[in-house]
């Protein structure tokens, strides 16, 4: 833990406040997870549906701590040469080509083959030193002197083998490179892994991580998030649009709109200079919130009704939508 950051992890409230300054409004639970992660030096596996702010959490944490964010996007077929390190093969080749002539000078005065070999052994490891090492995200994160925030995004997209390969890094914060040895981090990075639950993660990986599930926010939290992210939007409209989205989430939809959709919608409304939520406006902009044709189709007939209710909440002040929709 770096000194200037020690104070930031003092308790959960400072974490909530700190992330809030970065425009990331957290619940107590999220902050608790970060608190534990930092104190037990454990990675956090963040789950939740798309667009609830999993990746954003890592970005905000990095900004808040003033540490570099190192991001690794996972995909099928990702292997250690892309994730951890690779030898700069081209550079090695180039150097051998250039140094070819030098070779003669160095070996010139050696009379026997054995002698020449002996001499060469002395230079043997030259081409497998750190000079020729191309660090990839994981190694980069371990070598940051002040620590870093490492984001391993969409780990569920990677292969099972890769997961196994991550274990050494996640539990001991070290990697082993056969030619050089084991590299251990001086300051362990704060690690976030995100998953969309495309596949079940292995038990070994889960065991090494803290698990954080980010649910869709309730109306109050969502209003605060919109306020922080789209500050220019008028308060009444904000309340209405959040109420609308909250009610939409109670519908039987294929893909429920999450926070990022709400924010997008708020921005769209701002762009259109809308000052009130009307059925026509909703009708035209619904595709920002819903990403499936079937969903849009299902919701369309109810737009007028939902809009009317949402406007009521907006005018009346905050009421839980659940209380009256039933």
């Amino acid at each position: 833990m770096t000194d200037p950051n020690a104070a930031k992890f003092e308790n959960v409230d400072t974490i909530v406040a700190g992330l809030g300054e970065q425009g990331y409004i957290t619940s107590q639970q999220i902050a608790t997870a970060i608190f534990i992660a930092e104190n037990l030096t454990k990675p956090i596996l963040v789950e939740g549906s798309a667009g609830v702010g999993k990746t954003e959490l890592a970005l905000a944490s990095a900004a808040w701590l003033g540490l570099p964010l190192i991001r690794m996007q996972c995909y099928e077929g990702l292997d250690e040469s892309k994730a951890l390190y690779e030898w700069k093969y081209g550079k090695q080749l180039l150097y051998t080509q250039i140094l070819k002539d030098k070779m003669g000078d160095v070996l010139g005065d050696t009379p026997t083959l054995e002698g020449a070999m002996e001499k060469l052994h002395g230079f043997g490891d030259m081409f497998f030193s750190e000079e020729f090492l191309e660090p990839r995200p994981l190694l980069k994160a371990l070598r940051q002197e002040r620590g870093a925030v490492l984001l391993i995004d969409e780990i569920d997209k990677s292969d099972e083998e890769f997961e196994a390969f991550l274990l050494e890094i996640l539990s001991a914060f070290q990697v082993t490179i056969p030619e050089i040895g084991t590299i251990t981090s001086t300051v362990p990075p704060l690690v976030f892994l995100t998953s969309n639950n495309m596949r079940e993660m292995g038990d070994a990986l889960k065991r090494r991580c803290l698990h954080l599930y980010i649910p869709l926010p309730d109306a109050k939290l969502e209003e605060r998030i919109v306020a922080a992210r789209v500050p220019n939007i008028e308060e009444k409209l904000r309340r209405k649009l959040v109420a609308f989205v909250q009610m939409l989430r109670e519908q039987d939809l294929k893909k429920l709109p999450s926070i990022s959709e709400t924010l997008d919608w708020a921005r769209v409304l701002l762009l259109l200079h809308a000052d009130d939520l009307t059925p026509a406006l909703v009708h035209d902009t619904l595709n920002v919130l819903l990403k499936f044709e079937q969903d849009i189709h299902a919701v369309r007939p109810q737009i007028a009704e939902i809009t009317r209710k949402a406007r009521q909440y907006g005018d009346r002040g905050y009421v839980t939508p659940n209380a009256t929709t039933s």
Binding site: Q28, Q29, F35, E161, E200
Partner: protein, 462 residues
């Protein structure tokens, strides 16, 4: 706190949350870090450290609330009669019996109306008799009794009897019977509390066991014997199974053989560099993803098993992308759309309505398949047929079966009937059999899992 935490972890395990020793170390460290003062904080912290899936988070919530629920014994004031609400007076009366009471700490606790002390005493006794070891529903009475005995209930009862006797004779100046009444009340209250406590232990530690037993039993019950009320549970089991299979099946398609140079590709890509190999390429083997076609019989003869076959079909469809699903009795239809657009409760009846419960005609069904879908078969396709092969003496159309066999990678026939029945009556199994790579009896969910597992494995190897 060591001990309660250990018990809590055990309760979690009973609720199907996997807590390994490493995780229990984490839990202890977490507790050390956060302390017990803030309940919500304590709960969130433990939850983050222990529950690893959204489902586990939900059961963690339940277990936590149940485990750390402490009904304070409200022995004092309201809920009891007038006397106990006047402690000074009664304390006076008690002195007369102080001598007798001395030997009965339980009585003192009741009269002190100290809820904390009582519940603490009860938990200590519970620990001594090992109440957390409770396994079966029927053990509840036994453990209640043992806890109470350990707390000294017998002495209390004796004391009450004694007090009653001494209170009988005179005008009861000393208030003996009065005291006895109060103790009696306390005793009854204690009884209730202990019963509730044991009930909670049962819920915490043993209930899930019963559930597991039930699931194991269902796995091995014949599909045709399963009852409707088990449907939800079955869905859960089948879903979990399908997911497990799908995870294994989704294994990487490309496997790099590092160390074996792909000379052709390397040469080709390094032409611009005068053949100096700046870019190296390694040989790779591709693992083809299997295409699976499932054809499911939903006719009258297999009606009982059909629901579960469809359930399995539905779950597979959820987890495997390249799955084509068909159902037939006298005609064959593609049910992919129905499976896609409905949830399981609607999809199955809908399929049954569309095509189910009619008399079987395998020949016609195969003909329909050839007509509409034969072109989709290729050497990567596995065909799974779920059905009993009873075709009501119609033409079985062996020729189509032969063509399906020739075009596909493998044909697997899963028959809910035992093998001895094959060929009896209108069963055409012996005639279809030569054109199946595998023909097996498959009457329980366990069978089903094994067979599907084999199929997926055979793909991974090739």
């Amino acid at each position: 706190m060591q001990r309660p935490l250990e018990n809590f972890l055990r309760a979690l395990r009973a609720a199907d949350i996997r807590v390994s020793p490493a995780e229990s170390i984490d839990a202890h460290q977490t507790v050390e870090l956060v302390g017990y003062s803030d309940r919500q904080f304590f709960k969130d912290a433990l939850c983050v450290a222990l529950a690893k899936t959204p489902e586990e988070v939900a059961s963690f919530d339940d277990v936590f609330e149940m485990f750390f629920q402490r009904d304070e014994f409200d022995t004092n004031d309201e809920g009891e009669d007038g006397e106990s609400s006047q402690p000074p007076e009664s304390a006076e009366g008690d002195e007369a019996f102080a001598e007798q009471m001395e030997n009965v700490p339980l009585a003192e606790m009741i009269l002190d109306a100290d809820g904390n002390e009582l519940s603490a005493a009860m938990e200590q006794s519970a620990n001594r008799v090992g109440a957390t070891e409770i396994r079966f529903f029927t053990q509840r009475g036994y453990f209640t009794r043992r806890i109470l005995d350990d707390m000294g209930l017998r002495d209390l009862e004796r004391l009450i009897a004694q007090l009653r006797r001494s209170g009988e004779g005179d005008d009861d100046e000393t208030g003996a019977s009065d005291l006895a009444n109060r103790l009696e009340q306390g005793r009854r209250y204690l009884l209730d509390e202990t019963r509730a406590y044991v009930e909670r232990q049962y819920e915490l530690y043993a209930r899930a066991n019963g559930e597991n037993l039930r699931e194991e039993f269902l796995m091995e019950t014949k599909m045709s014997n399963l009852e409707h009320r088990d449907f939800d549970r079955m869905h859960k089991i089948v879903r979990r199974m399908a997911k497990k299979l799908a995870t294994r099946y989704a294994r990487q398609r490309r496997h790099t053989k590092r160390g074996q140079l792909d000379i052709r590709r390397t040469m080709r890509h390094n032409m611009p560099h005068d053949g100096i190999p700046f870019h190296v390429f390694w040989k790779q083997t591709k693992i083809e993803r299997p295409k699976i076609v499932v054809i499911c019989d939903v006719s009258k003869s297999v009606a009982a098993a059909a629901r579960f076959l469809l359930l399995f079909l539905y779950s597979l469809h959820e987890v495997i992308a390249q799955l084509e699903a068909f159902a037939f009795s006298d005609r064959l239809i593609s049910v992919g759309d129905i499976l896609n657009n409905n949830d399981v409760e609607q999809a199955i009846p809908e399929i049954m309505n569309a095509i189910g419960f009619r008399s079987t005609d395998y020949g016609q069904a195969l003909d329909d398949y050839e007509e509409g879908f034969m072109d989709d078969l290729d050497r990567n396709t596995t065909i799974i047929i779920l059905g009993d092969g009873r075709s009501n003496f119609t033409d079985p159309r062996i020729d189509i079966m032969r063509r399906m066999h020739d075009r596909s990678r493998s044909v697997i026939w899963l028959n809910p009937e035992p093998e001895t029945f094959w060929g009896t009556g209108d069963s055409e199994m012996p005639r279809y059999r030569p054109f199946c790579h595998v023909a097996k009896t498959c009457s329980t969910v366990m069978h089903l899992e094994r067979v599907i597992d084999d199929i997926l494995k055979s793909y991974a190897r090739s």
